[in-house]
Amino acid sequence: MGLNMSDNRNLQDQKRRLLAEKFELRRKLYKAFAKDTDLPNDVREKFRGKLADLPRNSSFTRVMNRCVFTGRARSVYQMFRVSRIVFRDLASGGLLHGVKKSSW
């Protein structure tokens, strides 16, 4: 893990993750209020507006599970947090505990 291009992406993603964590409670609250059918419509509108005013990077949908080693966005396994290529290298080197080539 050095100073590569991939680190920029990871830094941005990390920024998004922190924002999402920070605004999570507020976001949930606003969304819940906005969708509550028992409230009057203007109150619901107000909360919908508040939800829209929150920073976009505080949404969980914008967070991308990148590979921790290479920063690859695709084919990243949640269990190991690495992409398939790095996973293969690590597993072949015996660095992943309990992982071996399957054949049956």
Partner: protein
């Protein structure tokens, strides 16, 4: 043909034609009283079940929604995931060691100096290739 379990009588019921068997089909004597008995029984059973669910909700603090209307409870009951999400990237311990950080910074600066000595450093703002093209 359905068999009425209570009275052991066969009810003529054609499933294909979309019939629905009514209790009035039970061809026994006093069938009308029997019909009100069955509906009364079912009503009592329903009331009992409702009472049980309400009691359970009162004891354990559940949120009830018997009519199934849209409710904000669905959003509020999910657990928080923020902490788990924020801890995806492992902390780089090299960043915390001041010696390593200082050394890396020194390497970067010396590299820059080398380039500048050769005349290959970064151009001043507004003098790059693109800027030149724009100004021309």
């Amino acid at each position: 043909m359905l068999q009425c379990s209570e009275h052991r009588a066969y009810i003529p019921f054609n499933r294909d034609s979309g019939d629905f068997p009514s209790p009035a089909f039970c061809p026994t004597e006093g069938s009308r009283e029997k019909m009100s008995m069955t509906s009364l029984k079912s009503m009592l059973a329903q009331a009992a079940v409702r009472g049980v669910t309400e009691a359970r909700a009162a004891i354990f603090g559940h949120v009830l929604n018997p009519t199934g209307q849209r409710s904000a409870h669905k959003i509020l009951r999910k657990k928080f995931i923020g902490e788990k999400v924020a801890s995806w990237y492992p902390n780089d311990i090299q960043k915390e060691d001041p010696l390593v950080v200082a050394r890396k910074e020194q390497d970067r600066l010396s590299k820059l100096e080398m380039l500048k000595r050769r005349g290959k450093g970064a151009p001043k703002k507004g003098h790059g290739k693109r800027a030149a093209k724009r100004n021309k």
